[in-house]
Subunit: 302 residues, 2 copies
């Protein structure tokens, strides 16, 4: 392989413009440069690319085949350049996304589908984890971005942004004494055990590193804490107590027939839980991360 890219450029310019002189003008070179470039290319390839018997050279069949190959190579070169420019302007070449496994899947997967089309070369890693895993993965660099349900304590090194709010519903087991009621009052609920998400488990979230993020409402004096909405739904369906969970968890096929929704008559405002996006303060701010943030925010809010 003796030839170089400039010779391929000359070949395409000559093929497109129909003469070596025109190609030279287009490329801003001397005609002799194009002429010798193509002559050398022909020597290197062992082919006659142009039929020079007429006034203006005309591509041979072999020449046309080479033009097709050359065009593909230069297209790839342009792609390399484009990718280099994108990377040079800060675009991520890899992105690791950590998401709470209890988040609604469809909007997440739709966003990733669009992502795959728009940045086909991106190496994406997707980590599914429980409530507590997400911030620790982001904090230790395992993940660049994390999406999780709002929780009261987060490492200081992380920055948080609320990106959506999911409405919640109260559920009990289908055979629970409360299941028959059309509406219940808080005072009624408080006589039964409440299951809430909490992280870190059993800790007293009052330390100096506490950030915003409201803690899950404790409406009953008898509380069990778990780190997973799935575990909560599981226990609720066993009749252990009641819980506030996001709508999509209550609607999940595995639980839908086992649990019963409760409407709480005297709740000051509709129950909801925030979805937050966390990143290390310094990182996770490339163009793809920013796009993904707004995309997830839009899709989760529908």
């Amino acid at each position: 392989m003796q030839w170089n890219l400039d010779q391929l450029v000359c070949l395409l310019a000559a093929a497109d413009s129909g003469s070596f002189s025109a190609a030279a003008r287009r490329l801003g070179k001397a005609q002799s440069a194009v002429s010798t470039a193509i002559a050398h290319l022909e020597l290197d390839l062992g082919l006659t690319l142009f039929d020079r018997r007429r006034h203006t050279p005309v591509l041979t069949a072999e020449g046309e085949a080479m033009v097709l190959e050359a065009r593909e190579i230069l297209r790839q070169c342009d792609q390399l350049d484009a990718r280099a420019n994108a990377l040079a302007s800060g675009e991520e070449s890899r992105l690791t996304l950590a998401v709470d496994e209890a988040l609604p899947y469809p909007p997440l997967m739709e966003a990733l589908t669009v992502l795959a089309e728009r940045w086909p070369a991106l190496e994406l890693s997707l980590l599914n984890g429980a409530q507590d895993d997400i911030p620790s993965w982001v904090a230790d660099g395992t993940a660049d971005l994390g999406v999780l349900f709002s929780q009261p304590t987060l490492p200081e090194a992380l920055s948080v942004r609320q990106i959506a709010r999911l409405s919640q519903t109260a559920i009990v087991a289908a055979d629970h004494p409360l299941a028959g009621e059309r509406e219940v009052r808080l005072s009624t609920l408080s006589r039964h055990r409440q299951l809430v998400v909490a992280s870190p488990l059993g800790g007293t979230p009052l330390g100096g590193t506490t950030q915003g993020g409201h803690r899950p409402a404790r409406l009953s004096p008898r509380v069990w804490q778990l780190n997973s909405y799935y575990a909560i739904a599981e226990l609720v369906s066993q009749g252990i107590g009641w819980a506030l969970v996001p709508e999509h968890i209550a609607a999940y096929p595995m639980y839908r027939s086992l649990v019963s929704r409760l409407s709480i008559s005297d709740l000051p405002e509709p129950a909801s839980v925030d979805v937050e996006l966390v990143r290390r303060r310094a990182a996770g701010r490339g163009p793809i991360a920013r796009w993904l943030e707004s995309e997830l925010s839009a899709r989760l809010s529908r």
Copy 2:
């Protein structure tokens, strides 16, 4: 785009071997050449491809992305070279094949399927034509190769090779007086009109350009000539006469229920028709044409 292919080669060698020195040894260059090549590449791309803080350089994330792009480009370059070598050794870049429309399709299509896999870049043209079209297309350069049923007269400029022999069967209309007979004698057949393929139509094939190729057997004094087996089968099914046609024509779904096969008791040898491949004397002798010739011969003979 300032960079060149040598720099990409250096990048890959360095990435693969883990150090610039090793890459230089592998490429048969000085270490400084590799070092400056990669340094220039980094300047051109605006990226840091290697992390040089340690003893041996290690690819950055951006570097890995560029390695993937570069590998693809060099793969394409190898492909261009391979194609150039093939073309230089006489391989066709285009091939136009003219076939008699009455040839059996399945073996033809199977051969073309294999052809498409084996020479993916070949530009193939397939012309379907009647008996007379094939040799004229090959003679005037419209086609490179022709496949047709043996016919007595061919232009002098064409060379012919028999590549298969298809057995024939006699057919009459299902409601023809002969249709009930289990076996017929030639003397019986000769009392009915025979339809034969002939080309050129109505000509007296005795001119100076006559070549080998036996003319279709005229077993009856009353003969109609047509240039297409399909037209013959059509007329036979109308009860116009009887004909010798290749087995697959008699088995063609459109005619199968309309015609009846006859077995001729006193035919000296089983009726058959030769399939021939024609080319201009000078042309049609590239590797692909030769492969196609043997492939068609094998598949048509099954």
